[in-house]
Symmetry: D2
Subunit: 368 residues, 4 copies
């Protein structure tokens, strides 16, 4: 599990106790019923560990849609009605990124555990403030980096931690589709998925970011970007994100010294293919230019069977476990803060025409 | 057809006349029978327009292999024996890059037309010298950028020039495999393919290059690199090249305003897939943040039938036509020089840790 | 829409009137909450046109699972409690095939409209009895041949009816997976899907069936079968069904005089591929054996975009429409009876070691 | 290796000795330079074990095409010129099926070893005559069932003989394309490939054949057929062959008790996929219908690396080895005769509208 650099620098109290007996379902409210809220509500309703207590939503059409599927569950238009309800232990916030900081802050101040959609906040300063507040309040604050619960992502992580892939040489990622325009740009919209997966896989921080943006429609809001990340150990990753591609692409490739794995999230049956490498290294006599000679031979392909569990159900289970036992969730706030920091560095690189931005020093200032 | 900036700055004489009657086959010698030479020899033998006159090769095993397949065609160990043979009109050079400049120069000085494998030379200065020499000698000098003869590459070019794709938003390319280690590094080895295809498609020069290299085995010889190119019109391309991937990847994606095309050179049956875009742009009222709203809808996919002609046979045909008629071959020396220039800029970027390198100014100095 | 031969021979009263105003949702009960029942219940709950009034289920575990997802909806263990409930207009029966006849009969006698999972009944005599009873009671009786509502199946049907495929030469179908053993054998379990799709596509009855069974485990219960059907117009179809294949296969190919279409139900993104044929027929001089010369040339492939509607939701909509307006549903009882008749002929062929069975005459006896 | 029933019944002399020293290349002539002849000639030319001595071909255009590629090798228009040439040890016959019997007979009588394209002859009586003649002359007679030399076909055979697949439950095969019309019909044209592969895999004879033909264009010459074969052990196979499908299909599936293998000859990179089965058999208490309960679970997929050797080169090597050492070639005349016998039975089934034809008894007559 990944714990970022940034949080280690904060002096946070540890969580003291679990709040609830296992036998009592958690009371949960969903805030926002737009694109992602319906998935949250459905998973809460199907969880034996949670009880759907309310929706908070001001849009009447969205509210009516909720009522058709969950007759009997109240729809509130005021957040305070939810925050003042003692039967509600936790809120799941699925509103636009710009609203995250304010809503999360109110919920934590009201004593509610919070699961908030990614990104945790729009600035690393805001993210740190929320983390410190949650720690003081002894509440769980969890960003919804759902991909770290994906069975396929976890299968790749096992290949890495079990040494099946060997030393990681490099990683590529392509995440494209016809995207809904959002005013924060494609990097903020899509790259958090790549970043959460990469940090979860590699267990180490990003130390340099280079991002070249490509903007067709509106100045300052790139729809396509190419990012090159350098991790602390020297491993590099290349990320391509775009809203402009009519074919949905969700493909990551990890090339290791022993094997290569290709993860294609759109190939529902066979998301993972492991390619055996047959490359043998031979060191030739110095007379012969001192070159390494790599013979090429490639081997078998294995497509492991991947369970079909819904990542969001696993994420909610982790959230509940964290509330009950004080455990740190896999998608934890430290990871969320780290991702926000990389996004900030990426913005800086885009402003400087793709110049490399080193990440380490920027953190020190905050810790001081 | 692409003609680079660099050559336009040189003051070259135009070719004056075709040398040979159509009815006489061109006498051709192949120089080097390693990886690529056998393909050249076989295509010459099968061409009704050429006659295979000799092989020049010092390695006895390679020479014997040639003799088994082409009994009766002489194998020479001295280049001069080929260059002094009046029945030979042209030489096809398939030797290591470091030897190109010297061998091409000798052949041109001896009055032979030359087709030389990519890259044309290892430095842009050498390339310019060869171009000027060929012009003075009134001989054809052609680098072997074979991909510009690929039927699939040309099908994509037609989609571009016919307006089927619309305005080009961006291009991605991934070219990976388990590669034979070469002391010039992966960029010099593989990127010329991407560059020749991109320049042929876009008909415009590269103005900025950013390259991040990843080196595992031997300092100074990267096996993996991520390149971001900016073309004169602002179009960007992201290229991933690697020798370390056990699965062969040859995939390029062009995303345009009307359609997207995916070209996968390993999918022999169906190398090209055209994705219809259904994206409609709507400008909302300014009150609503002045954002563009992109609805997402994607359309049909079309897999056009592509002819199965061998690109190398078409390349040799273009070489012969150029010799006979004075036409400029599609894979011309100006394109070859341009590619060498981008490789030089890419080297500079790698040395500066991925900093963006602007290409234009560097050229002026040379031309002066 | 397909109406079978058999029903034409029955003298049935026409449906007289629609029972309900559009504004009142239909009261619906689900009978059986095993494999398919949860899908029925979920779709009823999500339909604005229906109201889920009750579940009838004797298994306590299944009942508890229902209650978790649909709190407030009663679970009955006695069918009569459902049939005597006046707020219930229709029942959806998802119980084992052997129980269909008795349960459907009781429901129709109680005045309820019925949607019953395939097959309509286990014998054609039973199916005819139910059809006549529904007609006398002026009630809708609909078997759940869900595939005729699949958007991909309907896209193929449009290609056929619009003449895009041309004259149909032949059809193949493969439907395999690791199946749950059922005592009726694989033909009864899987072939109804193929039969419903083929009859819906071709709009004509089957006149001959040849079925070779392959039985590994238990005498009389084949797990694999190969069927060859001849339709009235002479079109043939080959069907492969098996419970023993570890890879799920759902593939049908229709070869027509103009184009071929491949429908792969496991390829969720791209279920349909249309292959353009370039075959030209030439009649040579009689001296030359009077043979047709077929040149081979194949053309483009088109992958049309298919909507993602859930077939079961469309099926329930058709059921509701039929109840309200008296329209004949696409998956109608006549189609259901026809399928049962072909299954009977297929059984006869298997008993005779794969001998061809002609279907027409067998029907006459019943009609007399 | 498969040796058919039929040949066991013939009383044939054994081959007595090898004719040639290993150091002397075999002198070989190719007869016929139409569709397949160029492949034979090229492979002979590239084999260090053979020397291409002549082509026999009456068509001037075909002859000229040969001369361009093999300057110096004579083209004969009279077969006798080849048969009387003492430097020629063996002939490779690639002419239409109807000519096989006469040409093979003349070659054997002239003392030449013979490799003849499939089928060995058009009737089993003719095939038997040729086999007896070759035995009397002490010459190799080999039909060209090239697929038994395919590395992918042999990989599947290894999976079978090594017990990886377990007991074979059933096999399916689909072999379709836009075919060149031939007056013998699609079964004679395409099914020999399926039959040779199936017999090579299963090592046992066919005992029953059911074939339903589908004829669109010319009475008596089906372009599509569906065959069901029963082998001696009870294993069944379903074969679909057609000339009318615009997409080339070459797919065979072997379902075994442990694993399933899919062999797709058009997927050049990954022709074989092995699917692990996770099916567990449980015998329930008799009260519960005495049914087997098969739970369904499916496992990993493995795509083994397959060597890229050209099957025809391996076939010619086997032919040469057989001539030199007296070994029986993998594609032997007994296999060729067996295939002709199954084709005859298939014709009989088609004439009787798809009735099952038992194969055993027909053979006895000949042996008597």
């Amino acid at each position: 599990m990944y714990f970022g650099w940034d949080v280690a620098e904060l002096d946070l109290p540890r969580r003291r106790f679990a709040r609830l007996a296992d036998s009592v379902p958690l009371g949960v409210a969903v805030v926002g019923y737009g694109y992602w809220g319906p998935n949250l509500a459905r998973n809460v309703a199907e969880s034996p560990d949670m009880e759907l207590k309310a929706l908070c939503e001001r849009d009447a059409v969205c509210g009516a849609s909720f009522s058709q599927r969950f007759p009997g569950v109240p729809v509130r238009t005021e957040l305070d009605d939810v925050l003042n309800d003692d039967s509600i232990d936790a809120v799941l916030i699925a509103t636009p990124p710009a609203t995250h900081h304010a809503l999360v802050k109110r919920a934590l101040e009201a004593g509610k555990h919070v699961l908030v959609e990614k990104p945790l906040a729009t600035t690393s300063a805001d993210a740190r403030e929320l983390i410190e507040l949650a720690a003081r309040q002894d509440l769980v604050l969890m960003p919804g980096h759902t991909f770290v619960y994906s069975p396929a992502v976890n299968a790749v992580r096992s290949l890495l931690t079990d040494g099946v892939l060997g030393e990681v040489y490099f990683i590529t990622s392509a995440r494209m589709n016809l995207g809904k325009y959002q005013r924060d740009g494609v990097v903020t919209d899509l790259a958090p998925h790549d970043l959460s997966i990469l940090m979860y896989w590699l267990d180490e921080p990003v130390v340099q970011v280079t991002t070249t943006a490509c903007t067709v429609f509106q100045e300052g809001v790139p729809e396509t970007a190419f990012m090159t990340l350098t991790f602390a150990s020297g491993t590099t990753a290349n990320i391509q994100v775009s809203w402009l591609a009519p074919r949905k692409v969700r493909q990551m490739v990890v090339v290791g010294s022993k094997r290569m794995v290709q993860y294609d999230d759109t190939a529902s049956d066979e998301p993972i293919r492991v390619y055996d490498r047959g490359m043998d290294l031979e060191w030739d006599a110095p007379a012969n230019f001192g070159e390494y000679q790599l013979t090429y031979r490639s081997g078998d392909v294995i497509i492991p069977r991947i369970d079909a569990h819904e990542p969001l159900a696993l994420e909610l289970g982790d959230f509940a476990r964290s509330i009950r036992t004080g455990s740190t969730p896999r998608s934890n706030a430290a990871l969320g803060l780290e991702i926000v920091s990389v996004l900030e560095a990426s913005e800086a690189s885009m402003r400087r025409n793709g110049a490399p931005i080193v990440i380490g020093p920027a953190r020190d200032k905050v810790a001081a």
